[in-house]
Subunit: 315 residues, 2 copies
């Protein structure tokens, strides 16, 4: 298990092809699990990738186009049938709550477990989740209906204690926690030892940004910068730029420009139009502008560790 | 192409397993095409089986449990994106109309093509479709919510003209149609030739009955008899009879008894509980009571021709 792990359950645009599923991703960061978007058939994809349903406690929905949420109520219904009792947190546009409740009502379903809705804001960046290890924000994208991206951001981690200094100054174990947080240490002679001598810096925290569906947002860097991993939709190639504009989607080249704008470390392209049998042109178009560009192919897992920040791809 | 052809797109019960899909079937009878139930992922299954979306003009929904209709709105949405303009006929419980419209509204979708709803009746047999070649009826089943089965019944076919008699009596081509419908023929000498001498009987019309989800309906034979093919749910084995009763489902043995009751020619078992990895016990249990019992396995196509009425199975 790496520090960040992202499994692509689907990365097709609206019209499904036999072997390509609509949008859904499973993210693990700081040991927390997040399901991002939930197109039709997501529960089957989760099973096929041996991702246990019990690990899903937070589901993020970008917007209410069917290819991003038609799998949500079917998944919730299955969890009910599997006797889930633990609460489920749902993050999405305000209408998501009404949509989910209406669909459940139709089947006369009363879920055994509570649903807790957290609304994204269509016009501004909003913190929608926070715990000890990380924060999640939603931010507005530019699509034909209200749509938000999501930023998953680890908090700065405690500094690492130097073992040699523990011995040298005979520091009690009980003090380690506060030293790792930055405290200095007073030794037996009353001398103050600076924290910098006692510890080494922790690796930078990791972050992941998810952006679909959207036309290029020219000032996206106001919402986040320097993501280690950026998923950005690339529905079309530049040849179809006009069509991209009409439908409020992006080209691969535009996605790459956005990666530059926000100073991303690695770029994943997704939400591929059904018209591309061969996706290579999308990758090549993006890589010409932004070198670290990859196709977010269904079934692939992308891994990053905090130290090297190198991307490992498991096909 | 046989006279009746049924492709199983899914035959799992509510909780999906990686390799088993919820209920959906594609029926061809008298050259007409019918989609029966539409669980999550049906559109992908249609693609995988090379069943062109253009052939789907009539969709039948048994009831509003998610595993029987969660794939419907996603399919309609895709047809819209694919520029369909032809009207679509939907047959199901009265609430289906509200359900479909509510789900489409959420996404702000305005379909390019008209939806025409035909309501089934929860309490009585009802003719819901008729054309030159066949009739379709809905009839009430016994489940935890209003649920209907469907009977697809060919009309009696015209008799076959004997070619030798055409020549013997020098019958003009224009007269053949009425003779095939049963008319006698007056020859040049004014003698009346009986229709039985001029024609041979057409093979009996074919019929298909679809029954899921349901507890055994003790008087199901009031709605239909002698179906050439009967699909009946067999969620459990007899060992789990109590569970079947609680959940208003049937065991394989009960499905076989129903096949006897209605004098079916062939029985297909389906709606298998997720607990059975091996489905053989369900088939064996049914076959002990009703010999011509088969598993309606996903991906299998069942074919019947009018003359032999033998079942051909393509795995």
């Amino acid at each position: 298990m790496q520090d960040l792990e992202l499994t692509i359950l689907g990365s097709s645009s609206a019209i499904p092809v036999g072997n390509r599923s609509p949008t859904a991703q499973f993210l693990t960061l700081s040991g927390r699990h997040f399901l991002i978007d939930c197109g039709e058939g997501t529960q089957v994809k989760l099973r096929q990738h041996n991702i246990g349903f019990g690990r899903i406690n937070h589901i993020f929905i970008s917007h209410l186009h069917g290819d991003h949420f038609y799998g949500l109520v079917p998944l919730l219904t299955s969890l009910h049938l599997l006797d889930r009792e633990k609460e489920m947190h749902l993050y999405g546009p305000e209408d998501l709550e009404q949509a989910v409740k209406a669909m459940l009502d139709l089947s006369g379903a009363r879920l055994r477990f509570p649903l807790i809705f957290h609304h994204t804001s269509p016009n501004s960046k909003k913190r929608i989740f926070e715990d000890e290890a990380l924060k999640v924000y939603s931010f507005p994208l530019k699509h034909s209906m209200p749509c938000c991206g999501f930023l998953f951001e680890e908090k700065p981690r405690p500094r690492n204690m130097r073992k040699d200094k523990l011995e040298e100054y005979n520091i009690p174990v009980a003090e380690i926690r506060s030293i790792k947080k930055g405290a200095n240490w007073e030794n037996e002679n009353g001398e103050e030892i600076a924290n910098e001598e006692l510890t080494t810096a922790a690796p930078d925290p990791l972050s992941y940004a998810f952006c679909t569906d959207t036309a290029p947002v020219k000032d996206l860097d106001q919402y986040f910068q320097n993501p280690d991993l950026l998923y950005h939709e690339a529905t079309f190639t530049e040849e179809l730029k006009k069509r991209a504009k009409q439908t409020q989607h992006s080209t691969a080249q535009q996605a790459a420009s956005i990666a530059h704008l926000v100073k991303a470390r690695h770029l994943l392209l997704g939400h591929f139009s059904v018209r591309f049998n061969d996706l290579t042109p999308l990758q090549e178009e993006a890589a010409a502008v932004f070198k670290n560009s990859y196709l977010a192919l269904e079934g692939h897992t992308f891994r990053l560790n905090r130290k090297s920040k190198e991307l490992e791809i498991n096909a």
